[in-house]
């Protein structure tokens, strides 16, 4: 009997080769993004400083590394890179979940209005002053906004477990536009100073400038919860791809699984938007590329989308910082430059279909 052959071997190969390769890519992206910038730092120095920070005291001798370089590496560039990795990873996983949930390849947080809902939540905390009161209000409201948007799109666009491309996109566009309009309205109505207004515009456009360790800690709890939830229902997501009735007949509590996946996808989107604003297409490009190489099984695809999304956003941010120094191009512009053509290509190829490849 060929019990070792077949899909299991495909999944295991993907897990044992694909995931380590993606981890190496992520490590390389982190080092590159810290080394390259207005002040160039040798990559060996970057690795030494990071190692000294992570490993116990005294293991790494930092002799010869200037104080200034250490500050640039750990206090300025590292938090930005970590926020990029967390937001990218979260969007990668959330996109993968939404594509599985909607059984539709074009589902992605920013494309179907979920990120805009999260941004509205973030804007509310700023306009109301809650964001200044306590640090957790921002990710909490971003999550609430994302969840409300996702539940609405799902309710409107899905009939009998299927979500046609047209209704999904139209519902998403309408909702995204509405959320953005309300955000703009709140900004124009509230008597806020210019600095706050700038902060708000930042969410609506997306970016990673001036990220600090506070932002890292802010998005970490919802992100961890979201990833745990995604992992919890990994196999169920595979089964849902076969149709609701088949999934139910194989032991999936369809309604409950769907609610949990909706909630975790919203949590991940909210966490990403809370610290980086609306950044489009990450959850579209990354899962699609990986699915082509690793196959559709979520056991491999979800962790791969997390690693891949993290690397992708770090590298996009690196481009945003280095194309035209000292000016930064907004990160959302870079991801849209890659994402929008890719989206159009998928739309052209998949129109009317539900195929995930």
């Amino acid at each position: 009997m060929s019990s070792d052959a077949g899909s299991e071997s495909r999944i295991r190969t993907a897990a044992w080769i694909g995931l380590p390769l993606l981890a190496v890519l992520l490590a390389a992206a982190v080092v590159a993004a810290i080394a390259i910038g207005s002040t160039g730092i040798p990559w060996v120095t970057v690795v030494r400083v990071l190692a000294a920070r992570v490993l116990p005291d005294g293991w790494i001798d930092l002799g010869g590394v200037s104080e200034a370089d250490q500050v640039i590496i750990w206090m300025i560039r590292m938090p930005r890179v970590v926020v990029a990795a967390l937001a990218g990873g979260a969007l990668g996983v959330a996109g993968t979940q939404m594509q599985g949930l909607f059984r539709n390849p074009l589902a992605e947080p920013s494309v179907i209005g979920i990120s805009q809902g999260a941004a509205l939540g973030a804007v509310v905390t700023f306009v109301s002053g809650l964001a200044a009161a306590a640090v957790f209000w921002l990710p909490l409201f971003a999550f609430a906004g994302a969840l409300a948007a996702l539940a609405t799109v799902y309710t409107i666009a899905t009939r009998a477990g299927r979500t046609p491309v047209a209704t999904l996109l139209l519902a998403g566009i309408a909702l995204g536009a509405l959320a953005t309009a309300v955000s703009s309205l709140l900004i124009s109505l509230s008597v806020v100073n210019w600095q706050v207004a700038n902060e708000i515009v930042f969410w609506m456009m997306g970016g990673l400038d001036n990220r600090t360790w506070t932002h890292v800690w802010m998005c970490l709890p919802p992100l961890a919860l979201g990833v745990l939830g995604a992992r919890w229902y990994t196999r169920d997501l595979d089964l849902l791809l076969l149709g609701e009735e088949t999934a139910a007949s194989l032991g999936v509590e369809v309604e409950r699984v769907r609610r949990v996946i909706l909630t975790t996808a919203a949590m991940l989107t909210g966490a990403a938007v809370a610290v980086s604003g609306v950044i489009g297409f990450v959850g579209l490009i990354v899962p699609h590329m990986l699915r082509l190489v690793l196959g559709p099984s979520h056991r491999v695809l979800l962790p791969a989308a997390m690693l891949g999304g993290a690397s992708f956003l770090i590298l996009c941010d690196l481009l945003a910082r280095t194309i035209n120094p000292p000016e930064e191009i907004r990160l959302g512009i870079i991801t849209a430059a890659f994402g929008a053509p890719f989206f159009l290509y998928l739309l052209r190829r998949q129109w009317g279909g539900y195929s995930l490849q």
Partner: protein, 258 residues
């Protein structure tokens, strides 16, 4: 294992999809549900599978009420194959069949040797071992149907319910699918199928249950049940019988004179 419906009915709003159906689906047999469109075949099948709960009466497996069994336990005992088995996700056949192990696996478990063995056994019984590494999106209709049946077998359940398993299949794939079900029944499986092709029923089923407007009209061996009067009253057609070379009865239908 036998499935029973006991005075089962399903009502959605003012509409009765089925009413007061009592039926036993016995092991080692193919039980076919027939009837015109809208007669309630698919509904009865879903009540038997525990996918839908009857609003009156009850559905049971070996006397145990399906309503009291959790979904995972149910999945280990009864498997259901929907009419539409078109799969547009490029899983391999082995990946697809491994999904039948879902009700046996814990949340964070990866499939182990016992699951590999169950999958290998299921692939062999459904005669798709040679297709294990192929993508389901590239299979013929008949191959895909067998792969889906293999997934049912991998659950370890010995009860398989299929909704129109031969719909949209070429004639050789129809024979391929029904031959497989025949051999599974011969090895003790409990099989129930909703089928609209009365000739296939006459040839392949051991028991036929005739439904009309949500009620059970007759139940028994096809040769006894499918008589001219019943077919005329339920389907509104006249029957001419001829005997095939192998002795099996073949029905030809004519419009009833008005």
């Amino acid at each position: 294992m036998s499935l029973t419906l006991d005075g089962a009915g399903l009502r959605i709003g003012p509409r009765h999809l089925v009413r007061d159906v009592s039926l036993e689906v016995a092991p080692a047999r193919i039980t076919a549900l027939v009837g015109p469109n809208g007669a309630g075949k698919s509904t009865v099948l879903r009540l038997l599978a525990g996918l839908w709960r009857p609003t009156s009466g009850r559905a049971a497996i070996e006397g145990a009420d399906l309503a009291h069994l959790p979904r995972r336990r149910l999945a280990r005992r009864i498997s259901f194959v929907p009419q539409e088995t078109r799969i547009d996700i490029p899983f391999t056949v082995q990946e697809l069949v491994m999904m039948g192990r879902h009700p046996h696996l814990g949340r964070f478990d990866a499939p182990g040797p016992a699951d590999d063995e169950a999958v290998a056994g299921a692939l062999a019984r459904a005669d798709v071992t040679h297709l294990a590494d192929r993508l389901v999106t590239e299979l013929s209709g008949g191959e895909r149907r067998r792969a889906v049946i293999a997934r049912s077998l991998a659950t370890g359940s010995n009860v398989i319910l299929l909704d129109e398993p031969t719909a949209n299949l070429d004639i050789d794939h129809v024979i391929e699918t029904l031959t497989l079900l025949r051999s599974l029944a011969a090895s003790g499986a409990t099989i129930a199928i909703a089928l609209h092709d009365l000739n296939a029923v006459a040839r392949w089923a051991d028991v036929v249950a005739v439904l009309d407007t949500g009620r059970l009209q007759a139940c028994g061996p096809p040769a006894e049940v499918l008589d001219d009067d019943l077919v005329a009253s339920v389907f509104g057609v006249q029957v001419e019988r001829i005997t095939a070379a192998d002795g099996s009865p073949t029905l030809i239908f004519h419009r009833q004179p008005r």
